[in-house]
Amino acid sequence: MSDMTAEQKVKFYQKGTFTVGNRLVDQARRSVQGSMERSNAITSGHRACQGCGEALGARYALDAAMRATEGQLIAVNATGCLEVFTTPYPETSWQVPWIHSLFGNAAAVASGVAAAMRVKGREQVRVVAQGGDGGTTDIGFGCLSGMFERNDDVLYICYDNEAYMNTGVQRSSATPPTARTATTPAVGPEPGNVFGTGKNLPLIAMAHNIPYVATASVSDLHDLERKVEKAMAIRGARYIHIFVPCPLGWGSASHDTIRIARLASECGLFPLFEAEHGEITGSLPIRRKVPVEEYLRPQKRFAHLFKDGGDGVARIARLQRMADANIARFGLQREAEETPL
């Protein structure tokens, strides 16, 4: 935990917004995006929706990876929103060498690219594979697990918006309980996605004993960049799971993407932590704990929980218990480290 504690001490929060102030941080620690020399791995003009968390997360992650590798980077992309909105033929937003093959094989394609670099003696060229939660936790899971267990030199980044957004908001194995999707409609005795389902991919990644696993969020871009840069300093299979709200699929306001991402972590539903070789090495403490209602209420996918007449109260309480369990499991409430300013 010591590493992340040190990070916490130099973080500054502007009053009211709870954002990390770039201007207040010394030059060396500033965000890649704060620099005029930023690499713009994904340049402007792409077709993402307003307020897209994935576009934001991918740009920060890839630019951080480019900074860490001095531009010696190849990106592999699973089919999905990120692939579609960045490459409407004949245009491309990618300023790094980039390949899209299929929905379920990004991790394997990346293994192939890494093997080619190794055999050609160009090991300074690093590989990042990326996919949405569907391409990662469902259809791409087999290839991802294979890449992990072989410890191939690939950083895999999952941009988790908790459903199949590109095909029109269908449930994935990353969809949380009670969330309404097109295939878990908010009707019947158990509206939305059911409890007791889904998989926690960061924990599954850890079970492969790979060198590095982390969760990150677009609500804390400094933390996200730091984790990507840390991952790029390590050889072998690495996994970062980034929380990226989707205004379209979640029924949230475009201007609320960052706020909702922050609420997800501050209520405990999306814990931010790191692990090395299967052991948790650190977590980001919650600065200002909020009840899950605060996170759920601004999203239409959870609107049925707040309707009169149902058992929404009991179901929200069950989500709160999940959040509390995360807080206990990952040690997210640590009094001494709170309120750096």
């Binding site: 490459t87 033929y89 990618w94 093959s101 192939g112 690219v113 294979g146």
Partner: protein, 417 residues
Amino acid sequence: MLEQIEGSQAVAKAIAFCRPEVICAYPITPQTHIVEGCAKLIREGAIQNCEFINVESEFAALSVAIGSSAAGARTYTATASQGLLFMAEAVYNAAGLGLPIVMTIGNRAIGAPINIWNDHRDSMALRDAGWIQLHAETNQAAADLHIQAFKLAERLSAPVMVCMDGFVLTHAYERVEIPDQAQVDAFLPPYQPRQVLDPSDPYSIGAMVGPEAFMEVRYLAHDKLLQALGVIPEIQQEFKEIFGRESGGLFHSYRVEDAETVVVTLGSVAGTVKDTVDELREDGARVGVITLCSYRPFPLDGLRYALQGAAKVIVLEKSLALGFGGVLASDVRMALQDTGTHVHTVIAGLGGRPITRKSLLRLFGRVERGEIKDPHFLDLDLDIVRREIDNQRGQITAGPIAENILREIGPRAAKVV
């Protein structure tokens, strides 16, 4: 050097001389001996500077190959049967991306019922994916075709499948002329990719293409395979100049010059057919055989020219389009359209059923006498089939067909007709 060697090991040695840089494979019978051979050659140092990647599925095998090929590495994999179907999505993708991957298919039947023996329904299922498909007639051809395949794939920037009959070739020991490294180096230049993932010159590969350009992209993929009809004979000639033997090409003709009846076939069964042709020729019959080497692209014009003297064509194929009939036969009919040549479809050897000289002699006789219907199923036990049809017709809960048939023929299952 002439060696008495198993087909799979001959192929592994041929691959080694091609200086592959990435080999990835998932085991499936009857492909296993090839990739085991490759893995051993890498560990022993006979293949230098090559990564062998043990993947978790065939889908991953070809996906890793896509990544390494797009990053500029000469890449090889091998599969068969269920494995080829499991990677089907990546098979189309590799062709769409124009990646010169070489893949061996140890041709094997597709289940259910599960069957590990040879027929051609696996590679036939992927015949329209955009890969060049070459079929080996012997183990010498199998070894030689792999060396040619890399050159062909890289010259056209298109993937190539080398199909060799499972067990009949992969596990058979034959005399094979194994080339030496100097010969292969003289024949096969280093891989120069048309497009490559490189930070110094970043490309986006695999972008989305809409209706405004998709037709043109697909047409160009078709055109590339048609170009192969010219490149395959060129490479056959270049191969002959260095290795001194005839190998590859679009198809091989055997005693067809004055033939009235010509068999058209694919793969290792050609040997048995040639022996049968020789026997019939001794009795004065004017028969011949054409063995296709390139199934995709299909040499329509060349075949039409080669068959112009024939009155009857017998297409002998180890494939079957269920609910339709012959697969190869349809292609041959396309080549012979408007010629009036009579084409007989003969489905044979499914799931490893032996195709014997005795059966072929009987077949020729029946064709001559006009006794066969189209399609004809060689050595099909019609009594058993009819009884099971009656059985199924009579009762809704008749049980699984495969198990019913096995129960009936159990005691004579091993008998070769």
